[in-house]
Symmetry: C2
Subunit: 222 residues, 2 copies
């Protein structure tokens, strides 16, 4: 990550675009950076001195085993905070899923501040934990079909638009998030479309035709 070459500004920024969460205040004094598709934002084992927020685009956190097996920890879309999934060093790398604009703040600023700001960091960490735990359920006990259905449902729950949902990531990323292969993901998507649960308008955009059916297949426990 080259800190100097592409930062655009250091300033008091206006409130970020999708300010529907509690953490907006944390990012007032921050640097905005742009990353190209597949560019690394930080590496596995790198020092975790910074905390990040997606302004525009999408980010994935990944871990690669010695033999090349890859697991995606999570995806982050506009408004999401990432990078606090660590102790002193990052345990996952972070990469831009597509061209993205990211706000960056020093972690030490956040950690040292008491009261409200510190509590917001804790809240954000707790949300991360909840998502990781849902992910554990998914990978431990759900079938391929249930995983893909859960994934589409989660994505639609996050996106504001109730009609049409965008998939910012490719099939391989979905597979590596769900602990499946690209072929299985593709087959499940075809199957969901064939059974009139969802309908793909484009390769990375779908409508939910039967929300109740999707929820049933997703088999959420909470």
């Amino acid at each position: 990550m080259a800190l100097a070459h592409d930062y655009t500004d250091v300033q008091y920024l206006p409130a970020p675009p999708k300010a529907a969460d509690t953490a907006t205040g944390l990012f007032r004094l921050s640097v905005s950076m742009t990353f190209a598709k597949d560019e690394e934002i930080y590496g596995q084992d790198e020092d975790a001195d910074l905390i990040y927020r997606v302004l525009d685009g999408a980010v994935r956190t990944t871990r690669v085993m010695a033999d090349g097996r890859r697991q995606i920890g999570d995806f982050y879309l506009a408004g999401d905070i990432f990078g606090l999934e660590a102790g002193p060093a990052h345990r996952f790398a972070a990469e831009a899923v597509r061209d993205s604009v990211i706000l960056v703040i020093k972690a030490s600023t956040l950690r040292s501040s008491g009261g409200d700001v510190g509590r917001l960091g804790w809240e954000a960490t707790r949300r991360e934990l909840e998502r990781a735990q849902e992910h554990v359920i998914m990978l431990g006990r759900k079938t391929a079909c249930e995983r893909v259905a859960s994934f589409l449902k989660d994505l639609s729950d996050k996106s504001g638009d109730l009609r049409v949902v965008d998939l910012p990531m490719g099939r391989q990323d979905i597979a590596d998030y769900l602990g499946l292969t690209i072929e299985t993901v593709s087959r499940m998507l075809s199957q969901l479309q064939a059974s009139r649960i969802v309908s793909f308008c484009a390769i990375r955009q779908f409508r939910i035709v039967n929300p109740a059916g999707l929820a049933r297949l997703a088999n959420q426990t909470l």
Copy 2:
């Protein structure tokens, strides 16, 4: 959970036994409770007003799907803190793996206190997150053999004794933690013993014969 029937004391307790962590201070004003094997400590969806610490025994957090599939979120041994894996309500239930003594503290006490104490809560949450993320890697991309090897290695890393390690939980609990069946866990344990990696002295106690071999099979990425 019956708060009244089995608490033993409300007092300033002496430092807990294995005080090798930073969180000891949090539990000075706490209630000690005992739970029988398989007794519920708190339920899924229950309010998360309390935080817990294992004094003696072992605890599991579980989530059960509508059709009975069960996933164990994590195990907690003497000295471990649990119960902060939640927003307003618990997303997993907690149960005693065997007869256990648990210290309990009001979460609100912890959350409202600023400075050091609040930060310790955050640290504990972050450790939980790290463990959940390792669990995701395991369930998403490791084979049955790698999962069992990782499990035994983790347990031995946690236990002080380098020679002999106790398994506090039964095979079914291990299976539900690793996203496998009891039969597969049993087969992998037999296989590890046959290949002289570990050796079982009793059904729930083993020695690591070949630590390097175990580490290789575990395939840890960090």
